[in-house]
């Protein structure tokens, strides 16, 4: 969603940043407020002299409006600024920076992302050292034997006129212990070698699964067989994979692929593509057509090739709000580290399981198009008295107004509080670093 189509959004953002009303800007550049409103909502194209005049009044380089900066790049920069607690970062010129120095901006966001990854690696390594029972036990064994050897050796070295009988005994002990020490050290080295410890794979299992799904484009032709579930096919697929390294990641991927296969059995690919060709991508309509529950259809639509269903994104969380799956979508930024926004339909659906939501939403503070979000939460296990809520909430993201004619004005939601400019928000957790600018 880059390019001139969202020049209007950028004008709106810059105007709001400048604290200017629509009518004032319209008057300054000599057009009507209603025409400016159409431009700002990307309903009218803008170019040439008018663009230059608007850029002049807003005091920005025209290229900032006409080319704009890659939205994800800007979001990445905001995230970097937010996480660093850095005072004195010129947040109001973040788009200009990204627009004028895209290479540097990319380097900065990449560096920041790498930083976050490394911090996580350090955390998981520390965790391993502190909580790994095998490691603790091995070290204890080695230290005990070292103590015995040290003690025995110093008796042999320091005791004058040690009786021959004692001497023989301590020699034997030291010999035994040195063998044990060699074995202990060897097994420790073997363990450390074999453990997932090399730099590349100290990712969270979730990261591994995301990389795996992404590498396949979230679509698995070999699981699309019409005869339904067949465990072997999932195993074959996983056996060929090189991205999933940790056991937990394999387990998660296994579950996702089994569910995928079951979904594909209930909603076969070819009939689904034909149905989409007839009536478009309306998840509720399609779910009814195939006689399946809505979550099944949302998963299915998220895992179709994009030429069949257009671009889609998917977020899945459990009842704690923890994201358990994330298929990225261009116009909707999600940061696992920084936390999410409670205004997302994903979380509203949690409060009313089995009631679907369909909303046009737009992330505040980002020069992006609105998106269509379809969300629903479902119980995934039978209810028991006083038990934990076993729910999964799904939110499918699609391009604006896709599949369903919605008159509703797009609703503003956040990305995560630190970088969210929405001023009057009752759901806010912490102050925003972007609010000073307003």
């Amino acid at each position: 969603m880059t390019g001139s189509s969202i020049a209007g959004s950028r004008i709106r953002d810059r105007r709001q940043l400048a604290g200017m009303r629509q009518t004032d800007l319209a008057r300054e550049v000599g057009i009507s407020a209603s025409y400016l409103n159409l431009i700002e909502h990307n309903r009218r194209r803008i170019g040439g002299k008018l663009l230059l005049r608007i850029a002049g009044v807003l005091d920005v380089d025209p290229s900032v409006i006409s080319e704009g900066a890659e939205a994800t790049l800007v979001a990445g920069l905001r995230e970097a600024a937010g996480d660093q607690e850095s005072r004195g970062v010129e947040l109001d010129s973040v788009e200009e920076f990204a627009g004028r120095f895209p290479g540097w901006a990319q380097l900065l966001t990449d560096t920041h992302r790498r930083n976050v990854e490394l911090e996580r690696s350090v955390e998981s390594l520390t965790d391993r050292l502190a909580h790994d029972p095998h490691l603790a036990e091995s070290l204890h064994e080695v230290l005990s034997v070292v103590t015995a050897i040290r003690s025995t050796a110093s008796i042999l070295a320091d005791t004058r006129s040690l009786e021959a009988e004692w001497q023989a005994r301590f020699h034997r002990n030291i010999n035994e212990d040195s063998q044990r020490l060699a074995e202990g050290a060897e097994s420790l080295v073997r363990y450390l070698d074999a453990a997932p410890g090399t730099e590349a794979d100290i990712k969270s299992p979730q990261d591994e699964v995301d990389a795996f799904l992404d590498a396949h484009g979230y679509h698995f032709p070999s699981l699309e067989a019409p005869d339904g579930k067949d465990e072997e096919r999932v195993d074959q697929l996983l056996a060929k994979d090189r991205l999933l390294k940790s056991a937990p990641a394999l387990k998660i991927a296994h579950d996702i692929l089994n569910r995928y296969q079951a979904d594909a059995g209930r909603v076969p690919l070819k009939p689904l593509i034909s149905a989409i060709a007839v009536s478009g991508v309306d998840p509720a309509e399609l779910a009814m057509h195939f006689g399946v529950d809505l979550p099944c259809m949302l998963r299915r639509l998220a895992m179709l090739p994009s030429e069949a269903a257009g671009p889609t994104g998917l977020l899945v969380c459990d009842a704690s709000g923890t994201l358990i799956m994330h298929k990225p979508f261009d116009d909707f930024a999600v940061s696992r580290m920084a936390g999410a926004c409670p205004a997302w339909p994903l979380f509203r659906a949690l409060a009313q399981p089995q009631i679907p939501f369909c909303l046009r939403i737009r992330q505040a503070g980002r020069a992006v198009e609105p998106v269509t979000a379809v969300a629903v939460a479902e119980p995934v296990a039978a209810a028991r008295y006083n038990s934990a809520p076993i729910l999964r909430s799904y939110m499918l993201l699609m391009p604006d107004r896709q599949g369903h004619d919605m008159a509703q004005e797009p609703e503003e939601v956040g990305t995560s509080c630190r970088i969210c400019p929405r001023g009057d928000c009752a759901a806010r957790r912490e102050p925003s670093i972007t609010q000073d600018g307003f």
Partner: protein, 122 residues
């Protein structure tokens, strides 16, 4: 104060080495090598000082120390604790349980002798 030391430790060659150096220093050394009935061993041997390993089969050194401190006859006895991990958390746990002195493996024979003599008093 008498001169009986009870060594509660499960590593046979450490038992032998420590027993040897303490015996040479003039101590009566009794040994016991598991956690289950350590407190019974204390009553049976009636020691003047206890050397207690933290990692024992059956019961941890901290639990045994708590039992000793709760015992009407041995609540005040000096206890030297041995551990293979020198982490702050371990030290804190030992101190909370009422340890008299704390030593981290691998220690030297001189360390042990020094600690035992210091605990025995002048």
């Amino acid at each position: 104060m008498g001169n009986t030391v009870l060594l509660i430790e499960d590593e046979p060659n450490i038992i032998e080495a420590i027993s040897f150096i303490l015996a040479r220093d003039g101590w009566q050394v009794k040994t016991h090598s598991n956690g289950h009935d350590a407190i019974r061993a204390v009553r049976e041997h009636d020691p003047d000082l206890i050397i207690l390993d933290v990692m024992l089969p059956g019961k941890s050194g901290y639990e045994i120390l708590e039992q000793i401190r709760a015992d009407p006859d041995y609540g005040e006895i000096s206890v030297l604790m041995l551990t293979a991990r020198g982490q702050v958390k371990d030290r804190e746990m030992a101190e909370r349980a009422g340890v008299s002195r704390y030593m981290t493996k691998p220690f030297s024979n001189a360390d042990v002798l020094h600690a035992v003599r210091a605990l025995a008093g002048p």
